[in-house]
């Protein structure tokens, strides 16, 4: 166990060094790790440069008996150029009605628990949540918060596995291992298409390395400036038979949001 962690640690040091020196573009003598990282980085970077975004979403939860329940959310995201810090995001719950106006402010972190504040309108107070919930389920869904918010490149270590086909596309298969200590996953296998470099599917393996969930990302659209976004995310839990989908509306980019729109104080003023 300990030696395993040590190993992870040395790997991450090596990775950090690699990024620093820009080695990732080396074409010849590339290791599987380097190639995996390169593919993931290319995919991640194809989505960057949007500065900020705003979007509506409908989340539909389905249990194993087939009953469903929906909730509507509004997301605001502020991109942070530095790949070693996570994006900032604000999630506002619009339905169900009894949680309307509840807002979650999150400052994503790479290797630690995110900083999170929640505004409870009924209590008229902002509460900071301190917990190790990074891969915990988001409001009863099959998604963890990090599963559907922007992927942070440095949260994982990568290994290139090979090529495959998915949904008529040729895809690169890249395995990624979370670097976060309390992660619920031991590894994830992602499929990234070779055409527009978007993640199409991710299999999540739990702590005992059994297939836990599959995330399918579809209805990709390209926005101005070459920013790609999936508009339908479906997460299926293979162990419990439950599933959750998120349908996004149209994204608005570069909406002029700034750091001071993502501080604790704004939570009270939301709508």
């Amino acid at each position: 166990m300990f030696s395993n962690r040590l190993n992870k640690f040395t790997k991450s040091v090596a990775l950090a060094a690699m990024i620093g020196t820009g080695l990732s573009t080396a074409a010849l003598g590339q290791t599987a790790e380097e190639k995996g990282f390169e593919i993931a980085a290319r995919s991640d970077r194809s989505d960057t440069g949007f500065e900020s975004s705003e979007v509506n979403a409908i989340m539909t939860l389905t249990n194993s008996a087939g009953r469903t329940s929906t909730r509507e959310l509004y997301f605001k995201t502020l991109e942070r150029e530095n790949e070693d810090v996570g994006d900032k995001s604000l999630t506002v719950f619009e339905t169900p009605r009894d949680v309307q106006g509840t807002a979650l402010l999150s400052h994503a972190k790479i290797l630690e628990a995110d900083d999170q504040w929640l505004y409870l309108p009924a209590l008229k107070r902002v509460k900071r949540i301190s917990s190790a919930n990074k891969s915990g389920p988001f409001v009863g869904s099959e998604f963890a918060f990090e599963d559907f918010t922007s992927t942070e490149l440095n949260k994982y270590e990568y290994t290139y596995v090979g090529e495959d086909t998915f949904d008529g596309m040729t895809v690169d298969v890249v395995e990624r291992t979370p670097r976060y200590e309390n992660s619920g996953y031991v590894r994830q296998v992602s499929l990234i298409d070779q055409d527009v470099f978007q993640v199409r599917k991710i299999d999540f393996y739990d702590r005992k390395n059994s297939l836990l969930k599959t995330l399918t990302l579809s209805e990709y659209r390209e926005y101005e400036g070459g920013v790609w976004r999936a508009h339908l995310l479906t997460m299926e839990n293979h162990q419990t038979g439950k599933s959750t989908s998120i349908e996004y509306g149209d994204y608005a980019f570069k909406t002029g949001l700034a750091d001071n729109d993502f501080v604790k104080g704004v939570l009270r003023r939301i709508r």
């Binding site: 939860l61 249990n63 169900p96 009894d98 949680v99 915990g136 389920p137 009863g140 619920g184 419990t240």
Partner: protein, 789 residues
């Protein structure tokens, strides 16, 4: 050969002669057929799911499946941990808990682990809500920190008496396992892994007791009990019965051929089971035993007649033909009626009974066919030493018994009749008890562990999906108040050790969000507030510890779990009735459809469900058997009369059990079907010889009774002894259901012989005029004789 041969006799003689003339063909065909059908046995697998005891239509099972598809399944593995020093809140024990909790996520199919160490304790610190593991780094905790943990654990309603015993002497790690239910290897795989883990941790902490219970262990125990039975009980039983048989039939070749016959009949039965793809449960494993006892009964009749005929100077082959002739009808009727009895098991609610019934019926019919084909074919090949001609001591003893019965028939009629009445009157005293831990004897680890663990923790969960008023309704203050009142009510019930309720979580959150002010430890009185608390709580929970298994996805219902200690079925029933009453009287309209459910609830009603459906099945079987008897004996009156000696011993056996033991598991439902055919065997042999006495020999009633005693008395006693030993031996099964079944059946068989020997003749003599045969004794004989011409 007697002068009067019925068509049946003629057929039997022709059959026996053909078989002996083409013995090699018969033997070859038997081997080929057996091999073909028995090859299905390669597909046999052991069942390891308690749900196999319930049919798809079982309403308790359906309610439970409903609950489990709304929340999550709870096929758990529950580790009970007891340190030597009487306090679990120590650095050492908490280290153990921490290590076990961490490693338990590796158990195959595990989806959740709950323990003291990963309990998500919530605490307020100004405007921060801190959610963290209750125990972290247990090795280095200071005495102050330990005291704080102990205080939290013992006052937290979710933990006290569920994860930590109220006296702090024991703690638990509960692992929720969700099986894909695709292969029968899943449960043993998870349990095997968990046991290895337990052993490793045990080696590290040798002075701690670590016991494993829970539904996974229960399921695994079904398989282990079945395997233990099939490797120890069944082989030993074969040996015992064969020795017994060798002694009574006194021929080595006869015993060896019978052994082959038993083997073939059982292999065919199990082969069919294998082809059908049905997993083996501990109950279907009693089928070979049942087939064996009946196969022995068939061959004993034939071999004894053969010996007796050889004694009188017949050649072996003539004696074989005669043995087949004399016994053909009785063996056929017995086999068919027994098979009918077993097929009646299909009326029960429990699929294991169906499988037991069908496999036994197939095996019994096969044993019958083999006993009139393979048995004579083999016997004509093998050497049989002709016994010395001697006046049978048997016959004279039987004659004395017959004289005694005829001479004292009035006394016997009233004496045995009174005994019958007393026993029948005792039947309502029987109490059903289906506590699944007690299905297993102490040689099964699961039983020992559950006996141990129930000193500290409850083990029988009862689940309620408490319904709220529509989507999001669980946040409604009225609902929460009712939920809390209901939880309090459940806590006050006898035998309840723990109640898990969302109401307690809401109170804690309310306190946490008011800076941990104790005066806020109460339910929020505002729907929005509750909903937002829940949202906050859901956002804060880490991987695997979410609320999905407590609140339905649309928040229209929440699951309350009351855990009962070792509680009898009657007490459980009282608890269930009380909770239903509470709901009927106190719940608002939208909550009224809330019902208790769980494996325990299913087992609570399993006896009633099966007994009720079996009564129908048995009544039909008894009537069908009466019809078979009417045709076989060619007497409508004797057929109807047969209902008395066929039904009475079984009912009386229940009465005797009520007086001697008192409680019985749901196996009671199968007893009637299993014993019916065998009980009928006695009646058939006795009545058919009685009829033969009148038709072939021209005796009067008393004379025919005496003739019947002399002809079959000894064979019936031998059979009864063999069968009683056979079924009593089931008492050594590791599975109590089988033990009860065996003992009750043995009791019924003994009573059947008693009634057939002492009561039936008395009944016939005493009531010959009006009760049995019509107006006059003469008329009775006419009725019996008339079709025999």
């Amino acid at each position: 050969m007697p002068k009067t041969m019925t068509a049946m006799d003629e057929f039997a003689v022709k059959l026996a002669q053909t078989v002996i003339n083409h013995r090699w063909l018969v033997i070859l065909a038997t081997l080929l057929f057996t091999f073909l059908v028995a090859s299905g046995a390669q597909y046999l697998q052991f069942s390891n799911n308690y749900r196999d005891f319930f049919s798809e239509a079982n309403p308790e099972l359906r309610a439970f499946e409903d609950l489990q598809s709304t929340y999550t399944k709870n096929d758990n593995i529950f580790f009970a941990i007891v340190p030597p020093d009487g306090d679990v809140v120590s650095n050492e024990t908490l280290s153990l808990v921490e290590e076990l909790t961490e490693r338990a996520w590796q158990i195959p199919y595990s989806i959740r682990v709950d323990s003291l160490s990963n309990f998500q304790h919530t605490e307020a610190e100004e405007d921060d809500l801190i959610v963290e593991d209750l125990v972290k780094g247990a090795e280095n905790l200071s005495p102050d920190q330990l005291a704080r943990i102990k205080n939290i654990a013992l006052t937290e309603p979710l933990l006290r008496n569920q994860i930590i015993s109220g006296d702090s002497r024991a703690t638990a790690v509960n692992v929720v396992v969700q099986y894909p239910e695709k292969a029968l290897t899943e449960v043993p795989e998870a349990v095997g892994f968990a046991r290895t883990m337990r052993d490793e941790i045990q080696a590290k902490y040798p002075n701690h007791e670590i016991r494993m219970i829970g539904v996974s262990m229960l399921n695994n125990a079904f398989q282990e009990a079945a395997m233990a039975d099939s490797t120890t009980m069944i082989p030993i039983m074969y040996l015992v019965l064969l020795v017994l048989m060798a002694v009574t039939v006194r021929t080595v070749s006869g015993t060896s051929v019978t052994l082959l016959m038993i083997g073939f009949a059982s292999a065919i039965g199990m082969g069919v089971l294998g082809f059908s793809g049905t997993p083996m449960d501990p109950m279907v494993l009693t089928a070979p035993t049942i087939i064996m006892t009946l196969a022995i009964a068939d061959s004993v009749h034939i071999l004894i007649t053969m010996r007796n005929s050889m004694k009188e100077g017949m050649t072996k082959n003539d004696a074989l033909v005669e043995a087949v002739r004399v016994n053909f009808l009785a063996v056929m009727v017995t086999s068919l009626t027994t098979a009918i009895g077993f097929l009646a098991l299909n009326f029960s609610d429990a699929p294991p009974f169906w499988h037991l019934g069908n496999v036994s019926a197939i095996g019994i019919v096969m044993a019958w066919i083999l006993s009139v084909t393979f048995l004579p074919a083999m016997m004509s090949l093998l050497p049989v030493r002709a016994p010395k001609p001697a006046s049978g001591g048997d016959q004279s003893a039987m004659a004395k018994l017959a004289d005694f019965v005829v001479g004292n028939h009035k006394k016997l009629f009233y004496g045995i009749g009174a005994l019958g009445v007393i026993l029948v009157a005792g039947v309502p005293r029987i109490e059903f008890n289906d506590q699944w831990t007690e299905y297993f004897d102490e040689s099964i680890e699961f039983r020992r562990d559950s006996d141990y663990a129930t000193q500290f923790f409850g083990f029988y969960p009862i689940e309620f999906s408490v319904l709220a008023n529509g989507e999001g309704g669980v946040s409604d203050p009225e609902f929460l108040e009712k939920l809390d009142a209901f939880s309090q009510f459940l806590r006050e019930q006898p035998n309840v050790t723990h109640v898990y309720s969302l109401a307690d979580i809401m109170k804690r959150l309310n306190k946490n969000l008011h800076a941990d002010d104790e005066s806020w430890y109460r339910l929020p009185d505002d729907r929005e507030l509750s909903a937002q608390y829940l949202l906050l709580y859901e956002l804060s929970l880490p991987y695997g510890l979410d609320l999905n298994d407590r609140v339905s996805i649309d928040k229209s219902a929440t699951r309350v779990t009351a855990t009962l200690t070792n509680t009898s079925t009657t007490e459980t029933k009282a608890f269930l009735d009380a909770s239903r009453n509470w709901i009927a009287e106190n719940a608002p309209e939208y909550m009224k459809a809330t019902v208790p459910t769980s494996a325990q609830v299913m087992f609570t009603y399993v006896a009633e469900r099966n007994v009720n459906s079996m009564i129908t099945g048995n009544v039909i079987a008894i009537l069908a058997i009466a019809v078979v008897m009417m045709i076989a004996l060619k007497s409508a009156r004797l057929g109807i009369l047969s209902i008395v000696p066929n039904g009475l011993p079984i009912v009386a056996a229940f009465g005797a059990w009520a007086f001697m033991v008192g409680t019985v598991g749901f196996s009671v439902a199968a007893v009637a079907s299993v014993s019916l055919g065998i009980v009928v065997d006695d009646t058939v042999h006795f009545l058919s010889k009685f009829v033969r006495g009148i038709r072939e020999k021209g005796y009067d009633t008393a004379g025919a009774i005496k003739y019947a005693f002399e002809m079959v008395g000894m064979a019936l006693i031998v059979n009864t002894v063999v069968l009683v030993i056979g079924f009593s031996y089931l008492a050594t099964s590791h599975f109590k259901i089988n033990a009860d079944l065996g003992l009750l059946t043995a009791l019924a068989i003994m009573l059947a012989l008693l009634f057939d020997f002492l009561f039936l003749p008395a009944l016939m003599l005493l009531g010959a005029d009006k009760l049995i045969t019509g107006k006059t004794n003469k008329g009775a004989l006419e009725d019996v004789q008339q079709p025999a011409q």
